[in-house]
Amino acid sequence: MVEYDINRGIMKKFEILEHKADLKMRVFGKSKKELFRNAVLAMVSGLQPKVKSRRLKVKNIKIKSDNLETLLVDFLSEVLYLSQVNREIYSDVKFKKFSDKEIEAELVGQKVESFSGDIKAVTYHNLDVHQTENGTWQATILFDV
């Protein structure tokens, strides 16, 4: 899914990579925070939601993990849990605290009428989070679908 034209110097947020059974995605961000935010958008695209109402819903989350890589998976797992239990999608993340091992954030989203796609879980398989030579961030994540 190309959200922006990379040739015009605007970074794309995420793209789908080939994987036989699951949903493999590469996510981009100018900063770690943007990377995490775009990873949420990548996951939402996999859920293919039909939004019910435009009224904004807010959820607070707190996550601790061992390192930046596992923090990303644990953060997404928590967002996925909230999405499925509350039937909501989150399109914005306002970070209150952000380190390589801890996140406190406010998720902003909307109620969903139905999902056309399902994501069972976020996996740690071949997980990669790194900073590129030009200082931007990239992550490769495999979602079990």
């Binding site: 994987h19 036989k20 239990v85 056309s116 399902d118 879980a121 740690y124 398989h125 079990d144």
Partner: protein, 482 residues
């Protein structure tokens, strides 16, 4: 990267990579496949993931891949490994997120001719009664207390409450309930995800199909199974839904640091997240996995109840009801005993995308199947044939395990680019198959072109002796819920 020359050919259907192939292998790796299928399988990560499975502490004899295997994470989908309980590990990753995903087959007493005029109504009614759980459809939210009862009571708990027949429980792996389940080992969040999903199909390749018996390969066994030519049957494929996914998510998160720091277990993929089976943590996961497995059996039992309701509402209250042939898991971890190096050894069998198929005479199968062996249900891809197989004595070579379906050959993404959902539906309708679905993209993702040919998979399992063909089923209506 492995190539064909790394394999020793044991038979036309069985290949082996010796333990010496990679320094960290504890046992050889085996794959059941024809030469042609092996060449295909070599194109993805299946074999390196199979080899990864052969490095697990305590694994015995060999790690085995089924003919329908394809890449996944940790081990490939289509894997069975037997790990010694005394000093081996347990791996949530090698069971997967969809704990006790499995198959159930319901038999009717009617032939195709009798049902054909009602088929459209039946498909509509089943679609309404058995929702996907992602869209509209029935929404009943159970309390945490009710979920706890299901986690520990499984399908029998529902049957006790009039959601099924005694025979449903008899004709079900483990009688629909693993007794070592413990609801307190399942997190509140996992229970929350399960509250409104009992009796729902989910998405992806999960489905409900109205089928007919098109061909009989073994008259005697078909008779024992109560199957006859042109008979209408209903096949259900689903698992433990969000509850099972969350159980796996929770334990992976907890176990990865434990594996690395506390138990210092070295494995090639952290997704294994393994801990010693005989550790407090290992036992906790084993009880949580069993609870999720019970939830899955309850889910398929509830779907059975609603399918029967749809059946009666279309065919009338006086119509004879649907009976269960069998219900069997293909993602599960169980304790079993095998003769290994002349010694009876207790192992923890990890089956991921692989179906248990016990032989004739086995004590864990219902009395009525003791002579024949356990029915194993092998679904084909959407709109193609499925098979009822039967367990054999020779299956012991693969820890009494057979394939679980056709196996993907094309990614979902590639499938949606290759074909549209509308086109798939049109092609199926041209073949006279009714399709009731809630997502056209979902239909494209599951298009038959994205899967291996089920006939090839079934032939390998048949000729290799993992399980034998009993009947071939062809679909009349594919239903994927509302």
């Amino acid at each position: 990267m492995t190539s064909k020359k790394d394999f020793k050919k044991i038979s036309d259907w069985l290949w082996e990579i010796p333990k010496s192939f990679r320094h960290d292998m504890r046992v050889p790796a085996r794959i059941y496949a024809s030469e042609k299928m092996l060449e295909e399988i070599l194109k993805d990560e299946s074999i390196s993931q199979l080899i990864n499975g052969c490095t697990l502490p305590g694994i015995l004899k060999y790690g085995v891949a089924m003919p329908d295997c394809h890449e996944g994470y940790s081990v490939p989908i289509g894997f069975v490994g037997a790990i010694r309980t005394s000093d081996g590990i347990i791996s949530p990753g090698a069971c997967g997120f969809d704990i006790n995903c499995g198959m159930k087959l319901l038999k009717s007493e009617y032939s195709e001719k009798e049902i054909k005029p009602h088929l459209e109504d039946l498909a509509v009614e089943i679609q309404k009664e058995v929702p996907s759980g992602l869209g509209r459809g029935r929404q009943i939210k159970l309390s945490i207390k009710q979920i706890d009862k299901i986690l520990e009571g499984g399908a029998p708990d529902l049957v006790k409450n009039s959601y099924g027949e005694k025979e449903d429980i008899e004709n079900c792996e483990a009688n629909g309930c693993l007794e070592w389940a413990n609801a307190s080992m399942v997190s509140e969040r996992a229970k929350n995800r399960g509250r409104d999903q009992v009796g729902t199909l989910g998405s992806g390749n999960h489905f409900c199909e109205v089928q007919k018996v098109a061909e009989i390969f073994n008259e005697r066994v078909a008779e024992i199974f109560g199957l006859f030519r042109d008979q209408i049957v209903i096949m259900v494929h689903t698992g433990s839904r969000g509850l099972g996914h969350q159980v796996c998510t929770d334990y992976l998160r907890e176990f990865i640091p434990l594996m690395l720091n506390k138990y210092k277990i070295k494995v090639p993929d952290r997704e294994f997240a393994c801990v010693p089976f005989n550790s407090p943590e290992g036992q906790r996961y084993f009880a949580a996995m069993a609870s999720a497995a019970n939830y899955a059996w309850a889910n398929r039992q509830m779907i059975t109840h609603y399918t029967r309701k749809a059946w009666k509402s279309v065919l009338g209250e006086k119509s004879s009801s649907l009976t269960s042939l069998y219900d069997v898991a293909h993602n599960i971890i169980k304790k079993e005993k095998y003769l290994i190096n002349g010694k009876e050894t207790e192992v923890i069998v990890h089956r991921k995308g692989a179906t248990r198929a016990f032989p004739p005479g086995h004590s864990e199968i219902p009395e009525r199947y003791r002579e024949s062996g356990q029915p194993a249900i092998l679904p084909g891809s959407m709109g193609t044939a499925s098979y009822v197989m039967v367990g054999t004595k020779e299956g012991e070579e693969a820890f009494y395990t057979t394939a679980h379906g056709s196996g993907r050959t094309m990614s979902r993404h590639a499938a949606t680019r290759a074909v549209s959902g509308e086109e798939v539906v049109r092609k199926l309708e041209q073949k006279g198959i009714i399709v009731k679905c809630w997502s056209m993209r979902g239909i494209a993702e599951e298009a038959p072109i994205a899967y291996k040919d089920v006939e090839e998979v079934v032939n390998v399992t048949h000729y290799a002796g993992l399980s034998k063909k009993v009947v071939r089923l062809v679909p009349l209506a594919v239903i994927k819920g509302e």
